[in-house]
């Protein structure tokens, strides 16, 4: 793509908000700034050190999974009655985190929220890696993972067919669809930028690889037309997934009869929670990245604040969900449901329930104050707290509900083992390794979409409309 050296156009004075792109940028500065991170910026010692750590964690994950497959799920702390532990907690947590990426790239694209353009690329990458992390758990948590493919309906000679009444089968479809769409969506969105990278790369191999990935993109009007159509279609496909994937995940619980699981509020409450934690992760990643790679011009405080507002809104939905759970515990008059609420507040896990309420409900309320919404340091801390809180939420839902269900005789306690922690840390390693590499090999902000945010692009678009 040829670079454009037009002078920037003034931003209309009427929009008093912080701009989504700092003033003074042109097509070429944007391209240069973003592509140079990949193409010319030298690899810093910090990056290498960080990579060694996260890659080490990824390798630990491989080792731990190897041990798991050799010995069995008994290396974890799960038992009867608590048949699901860290594995499912982490699964739901990671899947939830992925949701922000899809929301940003699909729903906000459809809603023409232009501010999304500077964060959608890495949010989508985050989605992919998070879903990859999540995908490990349903496989790893089965007792006989080498047979987990039986969850797929496929023609076989065993006269075997999955049970379509089971939410776990729905999960298989929801998660695999989600991963596929996210990957395709991400890849399609990358094609114009691959072409830019191809054109700008000086290294022969980089040229070839980017060239291969660019799939012959030349930027012709026909290309752009097809691209826009495909992207819109994919956005349309991905949009229901934002709502459906976590709804299906919530069915894993809502379909069960365990007190604390069997509730109709789960689908909306899970989706809100997913977006809540997803935006928290976006902030957790965006804040350090924009500062390390000096991207403050593209990821402005407006993005940060908008994300904080989404967090606040979804956090309130989640709080409403907790409130309804507590209310229904009392209002239903069901002895098991009311005991569940009592048990959350007074039982052996009461500390963790209190921590959950603090992390997910009370602490994020300071986001009502603009000061905290615009302070990256504070916001990073709050986002981290929300991530922690959302992990605890799944812990409370899964472990606390299972540990004390219907028959008093079968109550038990769940204590995670070191292998539970290693596996969890290992998936964080996988996630961060992905992000680490992503930052260095792909343009982490969509170059061409960012360019459309420039005033000159706006002018062009208005002119087009006028025709």
């Amino acid at each position: 793509m040829a670079t454009n050296t037009q002078t920037p156009v003034e931003v209309p004075v009427a929009d008093r908000r912080v701009p989504v792109i700092a003033p003074g940028h042109t097509y070429s500065t944007i391209t240069e700034k973003i592509s140079n991170i990949v193409l010319t910026r030298p690899i810093s010692l910090g990056w290498i050190l960080g990579f060694l750590i996260v890659f080490g964690m990824l390798n630990m994950l491989m080792g731990v999974l190897g041990y798991l497959f050799v010995k069995g799920t008994g290396i974890w702390g799960i038992n009867i009655p608590v048949g699901w532990g860290f594995a499912i907690i982490n699964f739901v947590w990671w899947i939830g985190i992925g949701h922000a990426g899809t929301l940003i790239s699909a729903i906000l694209a459809l809603l023409r929220q232009t501010w999304r353009n500077s964060i959608n690329r890495f949010a989508e990458a985050m989605t992919l890696f998070a879903v990859a992390c999540a995908g490990i758990f349903p496989l790893a948590h089965t007792g006989r993972p080498w047979l987990a493919y039986w969850l797929f309906p496929y023609p076989n000679t065993m006269n075997y067919w999955p049970n379509f009444r089971s939410p776990l089968v729905w999960d298989v479809f929801a998660v695999s669809t989600y991963f596929t769409i996210s990957l395709v969506f991400w890849f399609v969105g990358l094609i114009p930028d691959f072409a830019t990278m191809r054109d700008r790369a000086e290294n022969l191999w980089a040229q070839r690889i980017y060239g291969l990935l660019a799939m012959g993109w030349r930027g012709s009007a026909r290309h752009w037309h097809r691209y826009e159509t495909a992207y819109l279609l994919l956005a349309g496909l991905a949009t229901p997934l934002v709502l459906s994937v976590h709804t299906v995940v919530s069915f894993d619980f809502a379909v069960g009869i365990v007190p604390g699981w069997h509730t109709t509020i789960f689908p909306p409450y899970f989706v809100a929670g997913a977006i809540y934690s997803g935006f928290a992760m976006v902030l957790c990643l965006a804040i350090p990245i924009r500062s390390i790679y000096k991207l403050e011009d593209f990821i402005t405080i407006r993005h940060i604040e908008n994300s904080a507002k989404v967090m606040l809104a979804t956090g309130l939905i989640v709080a409403y969900g907790y409130g309804i759970e507590a209310f229904m515990g009392w209002y239903s008059g069901n002895r098991y449901d009311s005991f569940l609420m009592w048990n959350r507040l007074h039982g052996p896990y009461k500390f963790w329930y209190a921590a959950l309420l603090a992390c997910n409900i009370f602490i994020p309320q300071i986001l009502w104050l603009k000061k905290f919404r615009t302070s990256t340091g504070w916001l990073w801390l709050i986002s981290f707290t929300v991530l922690l809180g959302m992990w605890l939420e799944r812990f409370i839902i899964i472990v606390v509900s299972l540990s004390r269900d219907f028959l008093n005789s079968s109550w038990g306690m769940y204590y995670p083992t070191k292998w539970d922690w290693f596996t969890f840390a290992g998936t964080i390693g996988l996630f961060l390794t992905g992000m680490w590499l992503f930052c260095r090999v792909l343009p982490m902000i969509s170059i061409f979409e960012l360019r459309t945010l420039l005033p000159e692009a706006q002018v062009h678009e208005t002119a087009e409309v006028k025709q």
Binding site: K71, G72, T73, G74, I75, G77, I78, N79, I80, P81, V82, G83, W84, H141, T142, G143, R144, P145, L147, A148, W150, L151, Y160, W161, P162, N163, R165, S166, P167, L168, V169, V172, D252, V255, G256, I257, V258, R335, S338, F339, W342, N343, H346, G347, L402, R404, D405, F406, L407, N408, S409, S410, W411, G412, M413, Y415
Partner: protein
């Protein structure tokens, strides 16, 4: 059968080279000592894993062949198994349906045609008997291709009527215990039987010269007429020799009490079927270990029918037992107070409780029983004899007979005189036949050290394991298991059962009969001949052969039950000899409900069997009451030190509801140093605290917290039906008899109506099927004896997971017995609820399994397809009854060859990663269905029994076809007491419960709360 080695066909040897051909020199050689070291290095919980690793190693396999080439090959190669079958099979011509006789044979006839009754895959049943403390439990043992695989009660025998007890059920595992001693050893080196008999010749000649004055025989309680006659014959020939008897869980006080009352030792037998009022003074007569318990439970439970003449049980006890929890009225009293409470009055204490009991006894002359616990002092036994006589119970509910025990010598005195003689150097030849006195003798005898010293020249020990005693004796002869040797034994009523083997000795073990025969210089006499010869002498009729076969077939010798004896209690005044001081803290010693006196401590099934009240596994505890715990600020897990006259032991606290205050109970059998891989170093040993003066009750014990904690592995999470937030859950439904009569269907919960379904019920009708299975469990009859758990474990090849996994909540029992308490912690009511799979009609598990590994059968079963299971555990999460069990790791032992022989071939061995659960014994259903179809008929009600049902001594479980309107299970389910557990969940369980009805004394009813205080106030 024991001399069958000679008759082994040569093929057995011919097959050996294929295995032994491997060149041993190239690999590291293992010998027994190294193996033992390796094993010693692993303790209980690691056992299952290390065993498999060890047995899998090449070195071990090689050692096996080097050490026992012949025996090892027998188990492993096809040829000799055939030879084995051949020899065994030829003896089966007379095998019948309910019980078979097995006659040893010496013919060597090639197995050209299959013997008529030997059909591979069809089990055969042989009658035999298991003996504990001298009392026989008559059994029918299932044999699959000549491997005993399951133990059932003998339904024809009056002492069983089909029921068994946990010890008998679990004794099967002992047979296949890989830790059993496998060789005759002299100072640890392997010797042959001939070497032993040769070595005995010298000492025996010396002994004969002295008329045996330097010979002592130490046995456990012996009820075997043959063994008793053998020993008596030997003693007759060597009048100076002596026969000593030791049992740590003995009945000395019972015998002394009988002597006080009647001047002679008699056996007391009860008939609970005729007893309207039962008063138990610390007698745990509804749990295994009490002589006759299987029969007593049957009779007791039969009278718990609220629609008939229901009995009433009062229990006054010093330590909570399952019997106490079944009581209509229970009082917790310190053991040291019994004497004062009962000996001063001529009858009962004058408290309201005592008066009510007394009034009830007076109003039921001839139909009441007073039962006294074995450990209470002799005076109370004598008093009970007197009271039973005064109330006219003798001859109606209480019978006196000849003692079952062949040698009623006072155990304590008997062992003491032996220890004294040994110490004084009077003993040159000591023969210990079974038992483990080095571990369980009273601490003041210091028996282990005198056994260790060189004061006795020749020490011979016959024992199944290389245990504490075996270590201290030069000669150790492996004792053959009762399922591999001939003997006989008397049941609690005196009926003799011939103990016939079902399998050749796995390790060339010897029985006590054969050892005594060596003493009598008949070193080659086989057990079979000895037992048969004895009965030949006893038999007066013509056709001995027929008599013998019939006795073997039936499992008992007709007409050997002891007739009631006329004895009169001549109670003048037995003022309590010296009532122990009730001041301070008392320490009670009790047999362990699971591992008895320690003899079962290497039995994984029993170690992992949750004890009836605490649900504790793998450990004993220091049991105290809640008040004492509060006062001493002790909590569960706290490790305390018990100090009794300078002897100290440490154990973890268990706070038991219903335990009297200022009283501690500890249990025998733990802290073994040489039990084997399962039992060694589990729990703490309390024998060092136990002296011959205070065998059951010691006073003046000091208890000090150590600040340490120890995790006790209890399998039940929470033991009251009231949740911590104060809401009560209707898990076990209970009313008093009066309330029941007013409102018989009190237990019914409102179930959502049938039509709340998207399916049209008429499209899936069960009544078009021949069968629709269902089960009902009568909670009123269940006494919490745990028998069903072991029966199920044995029938369904359920693995043992070890202490660590139990602590993690991963025990595998398919049926469990939940114990709940209700009411004040000082004296609660107790409830037992056996929980197998409910086989729900609307099964929550079926819905959520993604791979259809658990589906509904056309006969209404909730089937589990192991092959299909991928192990998501979703089904278990969604099971409101939490009856599903998951193989989190490879719990099943796939390697140990002995266990391969033991398993039920009809039931899959589950691997890791697979969910499992109760199947209503679907293998039995299939077997009966196939038989019925072949005969073009249907399964008759009652023919088909699940394992839990069959073994239940209380007849509390009934299983059958719901489509058969007249089936017993339908009759039970149509009772008003019938209710479904968690009915409001609309799971529609096929297993339902008959609610509990108690029969409290109306006089005491209003004062229930206060009764325990009253009794205590009286003291």
């Amino acid at each position: 059968m024991n001399d069958d080695h000679k008759s082994k066909p040569p093929v057995a040897k011919g097959a050996a080279p294929s295995r032994t051909a491997v060149c041993p020199s190239k690999r590291k050689q293992l010998d027994l000592a190294t193996v033992k070291d390796q094993i010693a290095a692993t303790t209980g919980p690691e056992y299952w894993r290390s065993l498999e690793e060890l047995a899998g190693s090449e070195e071990f396999q090689e050692m096996l062949h080097r050490e026992f080439p012949k025996g090892a090959s027998e188990w492993l190669d096809e040829f000799s198994r055939r030879g084995f079958l051949k020899t065994m099979g030829a003896s089966l011509a007379l095998a019948g349906l309910t019980g078979c006789t097995k006659l040893p044979t010496v013919e060597i006839v090639p197995y050209v045609r299959q013997p008529e009754n030997v059909i591979p895959g069809r089990p055969m049943f042989y009658a035999t008997a298991f003996t504990l403390g001298g009392y026989a439990s008559p059994l029918l043992v299932e044999s699959h291709m000549f491997r005993p695989t399951k133990i059932e009660g003998n339904p024809q025998h009056p002492a069983s009527l089909g029921g068994t007890d946990t010890f008998a059920q679990a004794s099967l595992l002992d047979l296949y215990d890989p830790d059993r001693a496998q060789d005759i050893t002299y100072l640890g080196d392997i010797r042959s039987w001939n070497a032993f008999t040769d070595a005995m010749r010298g000492p025996m000649m010396a002994a004969n010269a002295m008329k045996g004055s330097n010979v002592r025989i130490l046995t456990q309680a012996v009820s075997s007429p043959t063994l008793a006659a053998q020993i008596r014959d030997y003693l007759a020939a060597n009048p100076n020799a002596q026969w000593h008897v030791w049992e740590p869980v003995n009945r000395d006080n019972v015998n002394e009490g009988a002597k006080l009352a009647f001047g002679e030792v008699v056996e007391t037998r009860y008939d609970f079927s005729k007893a309207d009022v039962i008063v138990s003074l610390d007698a745990d007569f509804l749990y295994a270990g009490f002589p006759g318990s299987s029969r007593y439970i049957r009779d007791f439970a039969a009278r718990r029918n609220p629609d008939a003449n229901m009995n009433r049980l009062y229990v006054i006890e010093s330590t909570p037992t399952s019997t106490g929890m079944k009581a209509d009225h229970r009082a917790a009293v310190k053991a040291s107070e019994f004497s004062r409470l009962f000996m001063n009055d001529d009858d009962f204490p004058s408290s309201a409780f005592g008066k009510a009991v007394q009034a009830d006894l007076y109003s039921h002359p001839g139909s009441s029983v007073i039962v006294v616990g074995d450990h209470l002092p002799a005076e109370i036994h004598a008093l009970a004899h007197d009271l039973n006589a005064k109330r006219g119970n003798v001859g109606k509910t209480v019978f006196y007979t000849e003692p079952v025990d062949a040698n009623t010598a006072n155990r304590s005195e008997s062992l003491k005189s032996l220890a004294d003689d040994m110490r004084a150097g009077k003993v040159d030849l000591l023969v210990i036949l079974g038992g483990n006195p080095a571990y369980d003798a009273p601490a003041d005898f210091d028996f282990a050290s005198v056994l260790k010293s060189n004061s006795v020249q020749t020490k011979v020990y016959l024992g199944s394991h290389r245990n504490e005693t075996a270590e201290l004796c030069q000669w150790h002869i492996p004792e053959s298991h009762y399922l591999e040797s001939w003997s006989d034994a008397r049941a609690y009523d005196g009926t003799v059962s011939i103990v016939q083997p079902l399998i050749e000795p796995l390790y060339r073990g010897k029985s006590a009969h054969e050892i005594v025969a060596v003493l009598a210089d008949e070193s080659n006499a086989a057990g079979h001949e000895l037992v048969q010869q004895y009965w030949q002498k006893q038999h007066t009729g013509a056709d001995f052969d027929m008599f013998w076969r019939k006795s073997l077939h039936d499992g008992f010798v007709d007409g050997t039950a002891y007739a009631p004896k006329n004895v009169t209690a001549k109670l003048a005044s037995h003022a309590a000899s010296q009532p122990p001081s009730a001041e301070g803290i008392e320490l009670n010693f009790r047999r362990d409900p699971s591992i008895y006196d320690g003899r079962f401590s290497n039995n994984g099934w029993l170690q992992e069997l949750p004890k009836p009240l605490t649900k504790l596994t793998w450990d004993n505890c220091v049991m105290i009451g809640p008040a004492m715990a509060e006062r001493l600020k002790l909590n569960f897990k706290d490790v305390v030190e018990l100090d009794l006259n300078g002897k100290r032991v440490k154990g973890a606290i268990w706070i038991q509801a219903g335990h009297p205050d200022n009283s501690i109970t500890v249990f025998f059998g733990y802290g073994r140093t040489r039990a084997g891989r399962v039992g060694t170093a589990q729990g703490f040993d309390v024998y060092p605290l136990r002296t011959s003066q205070q065998p059951w009750l010691a006073t003046g014990v000091k208890i000090t917290p150590t600040g340490e904690t120890f995790n006790l592995a209890s399998t039940q999470g929470y033991q009251t039906m009231e949740t911590p937030n104060g809401s009560e859950r209707p898990l076990v439904q209970e009313r008093s008899l009066e309330e029941y009569k007013k409102e018989p269907n009190f237990a019914k919960e409102e179930e959502p109506p049938d039509y709340f379904t998207l399916y049209k019920p008429w499209e899936f009708p069960y009544n078009k099927e021949t069968y629709s299975w269902g089960m009902a469990i009568d909670l009123n009859k269940c006494v919490g004896c745990n028998n069903c758990i072991i029966a199920c474990q044995s029938e369904n090849n359920i693995p043992v997971v070890g202490q660590y996994q139990t602590l993690r909540g991963r025990h595998m029992h398919w049926i469990r017995v939940d114990a709940y308490y209700n009411g004040p912690r000082e004296n609660p009511k107790g409830f037992f609820q056996p929980v197998p799979c409910m086989q729900c009609e609307n099964a929550p598990c079926e819905l959520v399994c993604p791979v259809q590994a658990t589906v509904h059968s056309t006969e209404g079963l909730n089937d589990m397809i192991y092959n299909r299971c991928v192990g998501t555990r979703y089904c278990s999460n969604n099971c409101p009854y939490k009856v599903r069990r998951f193989n989190f790791l490879l719990f099943q032992d796939w390697e140990t060859p002995q266990f391969k022989l033991m398993r039920n071939p009809d039931v899959t061995i589950r691997s890791r990663g697979v969910m499992e659960k109760c199947t209503y014994c679907v293998q039995r259903i299939s077997e009966h269905r196939i038989d019925a179809e072949r005969a073009d008929t249907v399964i008759k009600d009652g023919d088909l029994q699940t394992a839990c049902q069959q073994s239940c001594p209380a007849n509390a479980i009934v299983f059958g076809n719901l489509n058969d309107k007249n089936s017993e299970v339908n009759q039970w389910k149509s009772q008003p007491r019938n209710y479904s557990l968690l009915a409001d969940l609309n799971t529609r369980p096929r297993t339902t419960y008959l609610a509990e009805v108690r029969n409290p004394n109306p006089e005491l009813e209003s004062k229930t709360e206060a009764k325990s205080e009253e009794v205590q106030a009286r003291s």
